[in-house]
């Protein structure tokens, strides 16, 4: 302690650095300050707007939203989340599988790739969300239409990664494979498939949030089950606290999904540096 302060006193530059370091609060303290300020601003705004909102309480405070969240959790939150996750799970896995298969096909057979990849590129800017009205016409309000939409969203994201993964096999690895006299099948098993799957894994993580966003829009439009249907129901009864509580549920579910996928990814590809959550 004394030596540290003596050293710090020795050079003015170092003393400033030392003083700065001592004054710097730990990250979690600053983080909670941020959260508290945000909550305080929210409460202040809700107080301010409480009188002038007419019949609808336009901005309820955090306490009211929390109460609503607890009430929803004790009623049918779990069934709604399960319904949404079911749509998401089926659509997402179908999308990833289809994209991997078709991606391998189009990536490894250049003639097919040159023929059909431009079509996929042309469809890609039409976000899956633009397909919602068409899927309502085609499939009605049931599960099929939503699975179609999520699958499409995930497919259009993952296909790019799949094609990339199977066309960009490192040259030295390809040379090693031919030097070892690998057969076409061995080369596929040992070289192309792992390379593609690693890229597909990255793509399916990016597709996570694209798919989840599509689930939300699909359920808002074709509101028959799931979190989105509940959100529309409470919105139509002008229940703002319940609307905000349901939005929080969407956020929490997305956050948990992202976290789970990060763990799986770290487990499957330990050599890759961990990417922080990409929410959009």
């Amino acid at each position: 302690m004394t030596t540290a302060s003596a050293q710090a006193a020795a050079t003015p530059g170092r003393r400033v650095a030392h003083w700065r370091r001592a004054r710097r609060l730990p990250g979690w303290v600053l983080g909670s300050v941020g959260v508290i300020v945000a909550l305080a601003a929210w409460i202040a705004l809700s107080q301010l707007l409480a009188g002038g909102g007419g019949v609808i309480n336009r901005l309820p405070g955090p306490a009211a939203v929390l109460r609503e969240l607890v009430a929803y959790a004790s009623r049918d939150l779990l069934t709604d989340v399960a319904a949404s996750l079911r749509v998401f799970g089926i659509g997402w896995s179908l999308g990833v599988f289809a994209a991997t298969g078709i991606g391998l096909l189009l990536g490894r057979l250049p003639a097919l790739g040159h023929t059909f990849l431009p079509i996929i590129e042309a469809i890609r800017p039409v976000s899956s969300i633009a397909w919602v009205p068409l899927s309502v016409v085609w499939f009605g309000f049931g599960l099929t239409g939503k699975v179609f939409l999520v699958g499409l969203a995930v497919f259009l994201v993952v296909i790019v990664y799949a094609v990339d993964g199977c066309t960009r096999i490192p040259d030295d690895l390809a040379r090693t494979a031919s030097m070892l006299g690998m057969s076409a099948w061995q080369r596929f098993r040992a070289l192309i498939l792992p390379g593609t799957l690693a890229e597909v894994l990255i793509g399916s993580r990016v597709a996570l949030m694209a798919g989840w966003g599509t689930v939300i829009v699909a359920e808002l439009v074709a509101a028959d089950s799931g979190l989105g249907a509940h959100l529309i129901a409470v919105q139509q009864s002008y229940d703002v606290p319940a609307v905000m509580a349901t939005m929080a549920c969407f956020g929490i579910t997305g956050f948990v999904m992202n976290g789970v996928f990060s763990l799986v990814e770290a487990r499957l590809m330990p050599w890759r540096p961990r990417a922080s959550g990409r929410a959009t």
Binding site: V35, R58, I119, S127, A130, I216, M247, F250
Partner: protein
């Protein structure tokens, strides 16, 4: 030598023109064949030529152009506001450790509430007016831009920071004149991703609570089972999305050409 290059040109011609055209023909033929073979009613799937004529008819109506105008107006307003706010907040978070520590938990937790989940609330708050969509786009774009700017500023070559410090630049000068400039290309690619998300947020918001715009046009068409209009509208939405993305790419290429 010339034989090899002409063979190369032939391959390019085949891969860039012949095969893609073949693909488009296969797609249209499959579409037409599905309609004829299963004798699908127009309500389910109109044949390609009918969608094409619907599209041409749409181009001739004033209502269509009004819808396009409304959607673009909502998008542009929200996009500009979101990009500006996002760059400012992201830059502040990148420059100051304290601001970063304070803002990160709030930004991260709000970021997971995807913009689409906000649509019903914006309808309650702003009704079916255009303001609600502008706010929604700004929200969607803001978070993409904040995160993109923060990452870009943090990845600026440390030597540049040291040089700026050595030249005696003040902190804000360093931020704006060195860091922001060095980070500009990465921020521009973030701006492209943000444009795609913002454009689709406009369309989604128009599905749920609105009385104008392209999203409103195609949900209305879907409810009256005018499938041709729905598909034509989707094509227009895709074209505008691609055009906006290309415009931003072109802007960043020409404006940032000095590096």
């Amino acid at each position: 030598m010339s034989g090899a290059s002409s063979r190369g040109r032939a391959a390019v011609l085949r891969n860039r023109l012949v095969l893609p055209t073949l693909g488009a023909i296969v797609l249209l033929a499959a579409w037409q064949a599905t309609v004829t073979l299963y004798s699908l009613p127009i309500v389910v799937l109109p044949p390609p030529w009918q969608v094409a004529t619907t599209l041409v008819d749409l181009f001739g109506t004033a209502a269509f152009w009004r819808s396009v105008g409304v959607s673009l107006y909502e998008f542009a307003g929200g996009y500009v506001a979101g990009v500006l706010l996002g760059v400012v907040v992201g830059l502040a978070m990148g420059e100051s450790r304290t601001i970063r520590a304070v803002a990160t938990p709030v930004v991260e937790s709000l970021r997971f509430i995807v913009p689409f989940a906000w649509i019903p609330l914006t309808v309650l708050w702003f009704g079916t007016s255009l303001v609600g969509k502008i706010v929604l786009v700004a929200y969607a774009v803001f978070f993409v831009m904040t995160v993109a700017t923060l990452r870009a500023v943090q990845n600026v070559e440390p030597t540049l920071t040291r040089v700026a410090t050595m030249l005696g630049m003040a902190r804000w000068q360093r931020a704006v004149r060195v860091h922001l400039r060095a980070a500009a290309p990465s921020i521009a690619s973030g701006a492209r991703a943000a444009a795609a998300l913002g454009w689709i947020a406009v369309v989604a918001a128009e599905y749920i609570g609105s009385s104008a715009g392209l999203g409103f046009m195609i949900t209305n068409a879907a409810m009256s089972l005018a499938t041709g209009v729905v598909i034509a509208g989707m094509i227009v939405i895709g074209l505008i999305g691609a055009a906006v993305s290309a415009l931003i790419a072109w802007l960043s290429r020409t404006r940032l050409a000095h590096r």
